[in-house]
């Protein structure tokens, strides 16, 4: 069970959280005019990297905030977590 560092509550067990998949994919600007391709890309296409991954988590059983985590998908190491609006930290080497 992962230990996830909620930027508000600190490290908590994975069971308190809900996973939200890839972070920072953009909803197309002027989305009503977006092409089918751009819209489909936004709706369905997500990165699935082997290595460091920025992802969304919500502390459902705690403060109920959505936030971001940089996690390694092989080792499950978590480099950092940050709040919505924070500068995006660099991925570890």
């Amino acid at each position: 069970m992962l230990l996830i560092p909620c930027p508000y509550c600190g490290e908590r067990a994975e069971g308190e959280f809900r996973y939200g998949g890839e972070a920072h994919f953009r909803r197309p600007d002027n989305h009503l005019e977006a092409t089918d391709e751009a819209w489909a890309d936004y709706l369905f296409m997500r990165k699935n990297p082997k290595g460091w991954h920025r992802e969304r988590w919500m502390h459902l059983a705690g403060c109920r905030r959505w936030f971001y985590v940089v996690r390694h998908t092989i080792t499950h190491k978590i480099a950092t977590a940050y709040k919505v609006g924070d500068a995006h930290p660099d991925l570890p080497a």
Binding site: M1, L2, L3, A13, R18, G20, R27, H31, L32, A34, D36, W39, A40, L43, R56, M58, L60, R64, R65, W66, T75, H76, K77, I78, V84, G85
Partner: protein, 988 residues
């Protein structure tokens, strides 16, 4: 039988406390402090099992979890535990143990015919032999499973309790031997929260049977002192009988604690699974001695040298009266000396090495022991117990001499117990000097001390522990005081190790005793092309038994190395995965059994439903009344009666489970407009509207009625099952995308109890209880009022999910039961009838109202449901862009339709598939499925809702539904509104 093999003195057993036990029906006696294995050995019992595949007689081989042979069944009846290691079972008075995998008896086992046929049973035998005929495997498997294998699972429910506990440690120390005790002391003195777990009853590990001193005092005295100090430290928790099973992510370690056995009655709990979150882990798990490959190396009476030594010194048991020690390393001489000192006759030390210049062989010779340098064991005598060994020079195997003995103590060197390190992602490195794997690059949050790191000298173990314990505490934020200095002189061993195999004369040479895998099997695997270690392992099952090859892995790797002509590190190693040792299902399940498996959520009126004899159904975690059958009444009849009451008179329904979200703030209207696809801006305070929610993909996600309490204040309801998901989803948009919206969500699902009055007489029931004017003009459909009902503060919503006049009355949850009772009382003259979810579904289906999850499945658009008219063309909302994607409209989509069976009595099963023609060539083209189906008491016939391809173009057509267990049923496609299509009845 008395304890003939108990030494006259010594050992840590309590000779004042004899304990009786039964093995295979015979009564024996041991002492408090014995394991089942040591007690059996004290009674001269070596033969404990028949092997897995060949049914060869096998004896006690090890001392603890590494034991490959001594798997026994303990307990009786429901308390049976199969496959218990006799070496880890603590002796208790009245213990009952039985051997396994033998028939009719352990001494005379008919299954042993497999051993005679063993030339046929080489690696891959099953794969090669049982290929045909097709389907024959089912019979073969049944036969093989009966002949092969281990114990039988108990057939009765486990009567014991198993507990779970979470724990937090700054420093978790695994193993309470010299390194672990020193580490725990160093970290504990620094003030860290320390958890010290050890699988033995007594702390100390090897210190309990070492002849050497620590700081000038006998080692066990130091152990007692260290333990007492640890127990005094307030933040140190020391757990005996606790085995660390696995290391998972981020310092998460699973350990299982065994209860102290009791002689009578039941333990309060049998095992406790500790789920430890550790900032730092110090692995001090020691090392496991391994065997040597030689002909006939599985005879009962053959055991690991370290086990023979511990049985003598720690348990006061002579595992034999005349021992031969077979060695390829200096540590074996400690065994020889300890055995001799304990009073066991040591007939010879047979050492594969030629050059024996170390201190320990010298001491053995001085002690007068016969040492055969450059010799190997090449054979033996005795079937169910060793009688003699044959030793011969390594260079001249045919030049045999017979040495009589009843104990063969084998020492092939030591393997650091690196399992936990491997679990944590560590990659071990091969040390050819030790012929063993040692820790490579560090694993996360973990350090490895003493023998587990390949450092076997006592002084090194103590120094490692003291240093790593202090360092771990420091990393966890605690500064250590003066370093712990522990002095422990002992003879310097010669670290050179000899070969792991003795010359062969063609006998059976086991590398994996549990799974009966021989050296020849591994060589055959390589010959047949299984050159990868992982393939050879799976083909032969080497290392795949319940002991996971703890004593045989290195032997097998050496065989593969030789067969492949590659050095061992190149051959590789197999991966250790949790658990380190088999774990019971009970320990994993803990108390998550019975009613505690999942929460049962109950509404404020639940007790009333239960007393009224309601039939409950689970809806998510809620339990909801499905119907209130009268004595002798079926569910179907009860639902019919309840529907009729709600149509013709008045019914009462508990709707408390609906999700409710309070939305407040200047951005509330904008938020509602964005999350519903239909217009809400025009909704006036005091009014309510049905809202349809789409995902970004344009598919229907949830629905419900939302009321406007004030200009910036809304009360949203969601489906019962969708409540949590909708809340999380809206918060997601608010927190990550729409930061400009000033609106706050508060879940009020549990704050309000909701009772729904439904039926033409609803007004007459509610009227006398409330100060709210219920006239249709003053309180029109789709509006809400605040007032009092039966003296309670209430919000009344005039909405309807039945199509008849209906009031949803919300009161603070504490008043829910009183509200219900007041309504029942007020409704009695009108024949008020409580109705459950079954009637609710029939009522709404008669009206063609959808239920998200029945009529939708994540692929259904508003247009599919015939609800496109309500979708706003003017505003933006979630999912809007997707509605114009190709494929989201036009021909080929499924439409919601009604189905009327030609036979009115027929009720279609939900999920039934729909065909265009009564019979079709396969594959049969399906055009849809039934989403809801009921017997409608109002229409007096079966009605169904269905999603059918181009359904709206098929009105009046006949479609066909082949039933699984019956005929193909014909039905007419109709509009999905069966009752009161004009909506004339909702004003009562």
């Amino acid at each position: 039988m008395s304890q003939d093999f108990r030494l006259a003195q010594g050992g840590r057993i309590d000779r004042e406390k004899p304990l009786r036990f039964l093995f295979d029906g015979h009564a024996y006696e041991g002492f408090a402090g014995d394991t089942l294995a040591s007690a059996m050995l004290a009674n001269g019992i070596h033969l404990v099992s028949r092997s897995f595949k060949y049914h060869r007689p096998r004896g006690i081989y090890g001392l603890g979890v590494e034991e490959p042979n001594a798997l026994v069944e303990t307990g009786i009846g429901a308390g049976i535990e199969p496959n218990a290691r006799a070496t880890t079972v603590e002796l208790a008075d009245g213990l009952i143990a039985n051997s396994q995998n033998r028939w009719p008896s352990l001494r005379f086992d008919l299954g042993a015919v497999a051993d005679l046929a063993s030339p046929l049973l080489s690696a891959g035998f099953y794969y090669k032999t049982f290929m045909s005929p097709a389907g024959g495997w089912k019979i073969y498997e049944w036969l093989i499973r009966r002949a092969a294998g281990v114990g039988h699972a108990p057939e009765l429910p486990d009567p014991d309790r198993y507990e779970h506990s979470y724990a937090h440690a700054d420093v978790l120390v695994v193993g309470a031997g010299p390194a672990g005790l020193a580490a725990a002391l160093a970290a504990g003195r620094a003030g860290a929260r320390v958890m010290l777990v050890d699988d033995q009853v007594e702390p100390g590990g090897q210190l309990l049977n070492t002849p050497y001193a620590i700081n000038g005092r006998p080692a066990p005295e130091w152990v007692a002192e260290a333990t007492a100090e640890l127990d005094r430290l307030p933040d140190v928790r020391r757990l005996a009988r606790t085995l660390a099973l696995g290391v998972y992510d981020h310092g998460y370690v699973a350990c299982v604690e065994r209860a102290i056995p009791v002689s009578q009655g039941r333990v309060r709990w049998r095992e406790r699974l500790w789920r430890v979150r550790a900032k730092e882990i110090v692995v001090a798990t020691g090392a496991i001695e391994r065997a040597i490959i030689f002909d006939g190396n599985d005879r009962p009476g053959t055991m690991l040298a370290s086990a023979a030594r511990a049985y003598a010194v720690r348990y006061g048991v002579a595992a034999g009266q005349r021992a031969v020690v077979f060695a390829n390393n200096d540590d074996a001489y400690r065994t020889a000396l300890d055995l001799a000192n304990a009073g066991v006759e040591v007939a010879a030390v047979v050492d594969l090495r030629h050059d024996l210049s170390g201190a320990l062989p010298g001491m053995a010779r001085e002690r007068g022991l016969r040492v055969l340098a450059g010799h190997g064991i090449v054979g033996g005598r005795g079937r169910t117990r060793i009688k003699a060994v044959e030793a011969a020079p390594v260079d001249d195997p045919s030049n045999r001499q017979v040495i009589e003995c009843d104990l063969l103590a084998v020492s092939g060197g030591w393997n650091p117990a690196l399992h936990l390190y491997a679990h944590a992602g560590g990659k071990a490195a091969y040390d050819s000097g030790l012929a063993a794997f040692v820790p490579g690059a560090p694993a996360e949050r973990m350090t490895i001390a003493g023998a587990a790191a390949g450092r076997f000298q006592l002084a090194d173990c103590l120094a490692d522990g003291a240093r790593l314990g202090a360092e771990a505490a420091r990393r966890a934020g605690f500064s250590a005081g003066p370093a712990l200095v522990l002095d422990a002189p002992e003879p310097e061993p010669d670290s050179r190790i000899g070969p792991v195999a003795s010359p062969s004369r063609g006998g059976k040479r086991f590398v994996d005793l549990h799974n009966d895998v021989t050296e020849a099997d591994l060589r055959l695997a390589v010959t047949e092309g299984y050159r990868s270690v992982e393939h050879a392992k799976r083909y032969t099952t080497w290392g795949m038994g319940p002991d996971q090859g703890k004593t045989g892995n290195i032997l097998g790797l050496n065989v593969l190395s030789d067969a492949l002509g590659q050095p061992v590190p190149q051959v590789g190693t197999t991966t250790f995965r949790p658990p380190y040792h088999p774990v019971s299902f009970g320990a994993l399940a803990g108390r998550e059994t019975g009613d505690l498996v999942v929460p049962t959520r109950k509404t404020p009126m639940d007790s009333w439903h239960a007393e009224a004899g309601a039939l409950f159904e689970p809806v998510g975690q809620w339990r909801r009344a499905k119907a209130y059958p009268k004595p002798g009444e079926s569910l179907h009849a009860a639902a019919d009666r309840e529907v009729r009451a709600a149509r013709e008179g008045v019914g009462l329904f508990d709707a408390s489970t609906l999700g409710k979200i309070d939305m407040s703030g200047p951005g509330a209207e904008t938020l509602i407009e964005r999350v519903y696809c239909n217009n809400f801006a025009s909704l006036k305070p005091g009014h309510a509207r049905y809202g349809l929610m789409l995902g970004e993909d344009g598919m229907v996600k949830d629905d419900g009625v939302t009321a406007r309490l004030g200009p910036d204040h809304f009360h949203m309801t969601t489906t019962t099952g969708g409540a949590a998901g909708v809340y999380v989803w809206i918060e997601d948009w608010l927190q990550t995308e729409w930061l400009d919206l000033e609106v706050f969500l508060t879940s009020v699902t549990e704050q309000w109890a909701v009772a729904t009055l439904s039926g033409p007489k609803a007004r007459q029931v509610l009227g006398p209880l409330t100060d709210v004017d219920l006239s249709a003009a003053a309180f029109p459909f789709m509006s809400f009022r605040e007032g009092r009902v039966a003296g309670m503060p209430a919000r009344i919503f005039r909405v309807s999910f039945s199509g008849d006049l209906s009031y949803e009355i919300n009161v603070p949850a504490r008043h829910g039961l009183a509200l219900w009772q007041a309504l029942m009382e007020s409704g009695r003259p009108h024949g008020i009838t409580p109705y459950g979810t079954e009637a609710l579904h029939i009522l709404r289906a008669e009206k063609g109202y959808i239920v998200v999850g029945h009529e939708t499945d994540g692929t259904i658009t508003p247009a599919d449901l015939g609800m496109e008219a309500m979708v706003s063309k003017k505003k933006d909302f979630l999912g809007r862009r997707s509605l114009v994607r190709s494929g989201m409209s036009g021909p080929g989509r499924k439409h919601l339709v009604g189905l009327m069976t030609k036979d009115p009595a027929r009720v279609l099963p939900m999920g039934a598939q729909i065909l265009e023609r009564p019979s079709e060539a396969r594959p049969v083209p399906m055009i849809g499925h039934v989403t809801s189906s009921y017997h409608s008491p109002t229409m007096k016939r079966g009605i169904a809702m269905a999603l059918v391809k181009n359904g709206r173009a098929r009105m009046g057509d006949t479609v066909y539904l082949p039933l699984l267990d019956g005929p193909t049923v014909a039905a007419e496609v109709v509009k999905p509104v069966f009752y009161d299509p004009e909506g004339a009845r909702r004003d009562g």
